[in-house]
């Protein structure tokens, strides 16, 4: 699937040339423009950190789809952020296998250290905390995903070390 990217003069664009090129390249993998929505949203989010309305509109423009359809996809999936998030994203798994191995205590510990609740971002914009579901790594329960990397067999000490490494 090839996509055209007509430059509209006089309009400030949020998505960089590199992101746009990336999306065009990804589009070649698919047999329909709509299929490119998810990878395109990832590409946009990688550049911007989250997906503001303008990013949705630009992705829609590139793929020649109604912005409402692209927005609906962005809102359906939890890994697309529609609002700004912290510089570091900490996602603690609280599903059963992790819970049986002490996930509640780990979550409580992180909450206290960051002084925020799950779903919140610290005032300095440095950390966001999420409660998430089974990460497919229950063999190393309790598990957290931090900036996309998995950390397993967590203890309070291990959490302290990781957070220190991130500048807390």
């Amino acid at each position: 699937m090839g996509v055209t990217q007509a430059q509209q003069p006089g309009k400030a664009r949020l998505l960089s040339e590199a992101t746009r090129e990336n999306i065009s390249r990804i589009a070649l993998n698919y047999d329909s423009a709509q299929s490119v929505v998810m990878p395109a949203l990832y590409a946009a989010q990688e550049q911007l950190g989250y997906l503001p309305d303008q990013a949705i509109v630009e992705v829609a423009e590139i793929l020649q789809l109604p912005p409402s359809e692209v927005g609906a996809v962005a809102s359906f999936y939890t890994m697309y952020f529609r609002r700004p998030v912290g510089q570091h994203i900490i996602s603690v798994c609280e599903t059963l296998s992790c819970a049986l191995r002490g996930a509640e205590g780990i979550m409580e510990h992180v909450r206290r250290k960051l002084n925020i609740k799950a779903g919140e971002t610290t005032a300095d914009g440095k950390f966001s905390l999420n409660s998430v579901e089974c990460l497919g790594a229950c063999d190393m329960a309790p598990v957290a995903m931090i900036d996309g990397e998995y950390y397993g067999n967590l203890t309070e000490e291990k959490v302290d070390e990781i957070l220190m490494g991130l500048g807390l």
């Binding site: 299929s35 998810m38 497919g136």
Partner: protein, 422 residues
Amino acid sequence: MENILFKHLDIADLEKLDVYVANGGYAALGKALKELAPAEVTGLVTRSGLRGRGGAGFSTGKKWSFIPKDVDTPKYLTCNADESEPGTFKDRELMVRNPHQLLEGIALCCYAIGAAKSFIYIRGEYAHQARVMEKAIEEAKEAGYLGRNIMGSDFSLKVVVHRGAGAYICGEETALLDSLEGKKGWPRFRPPFPAIAGLYAKPTVINNVETLCNVPHIISRGPEWFASIGTEKSTGTKVFSVSGHVNKPGNYELPMGVTARELLFEHAGGIWGGRRLKAFIPGGASVPMLTESDLDVRLDFESVMAAGSMLGSGGVIVMNEDACIVWATLNLSKFYNHESCGKCAPCREGTYFIVQILKALEDGHGLPGDVEKLRDVATNIDGRSFCALGDAAAQPVKSSIDRFHEEYEYHIAHRGCMVGRS
């Protein structure tokens, strides 16, 4: 027992293409392309008795044979690498430790069904695994095992990794297809079945990672060899993911039909903390719980069903006597409530009510009659929902009430927990 899918435990660096090839990798594909007609590949897979490892246990060869032949339309294979069923983490290991085994399985399936393109739909959280698969695809392409005119034949294949973005329902095969088409992951009405109208309304096979990983071995070593492992109706090995209260959580590849006792005590190191086993869920979170008295149940499709549960994904979640069943059921019910896609009312509303009632019980505000109410709501979801997620949500609730009724009543009578949690 010899490691088959888990040969990476015996051979270092098996994820590397040259090591994979040096150990017989891509020989099955070479053999199929040179010696076998596509229908013969499907025939061998059918004769092996291989059944889907994604949960439902449907005959893999039969599934492939439903794809229309001799029609001039694109066909697709979608590999289901969504692996979001709580307690399941086998596909993660299979992809990272032996990515070419999966790619060879994918190539064999595509050759058999006449597909020139395959997508690997991988859960968004598996970013590392997605990178591993992408790198393996590039390597295989360069070496001529994927891409144009594979191994000098006229068979060509493009494999694309597509990342999900955090939605359990996208593991359900029709929701997966909608997601792959760039829509919200909502299950589709069937018929038509994906074999007739799947991705882009074209004939499509959807197979789990582990299912496809079995295929090269079946082609190399023959269906009789494969069928000699396991039980009569559940052939081959199964990768069991064991987690929760065991001493050695992890993946164990064992013949179908191994007893739960052997899996938990001889392989997974026994029950954690020197405590007694209370309950185990044999097939990922979505199947009924079993108890200590079921330890001698054989883990194959038929035997687990006869014991009142299901083999499902083979993710075994273990709870010792310190675990509160009401708490555990609340934990899983929150999962289903959160992951309900909202398309149909029984599941959307029902999972919400279940969580409310269980929360009250857990917080010590349970009322007489709550257990009956819970069972009622669960019964009204089960079999009345649009897709199998609703049925799944009902299983932990119904089975825990059936087997641990006194723990529920204790919560109501004593406003607290029998095992001293709350």
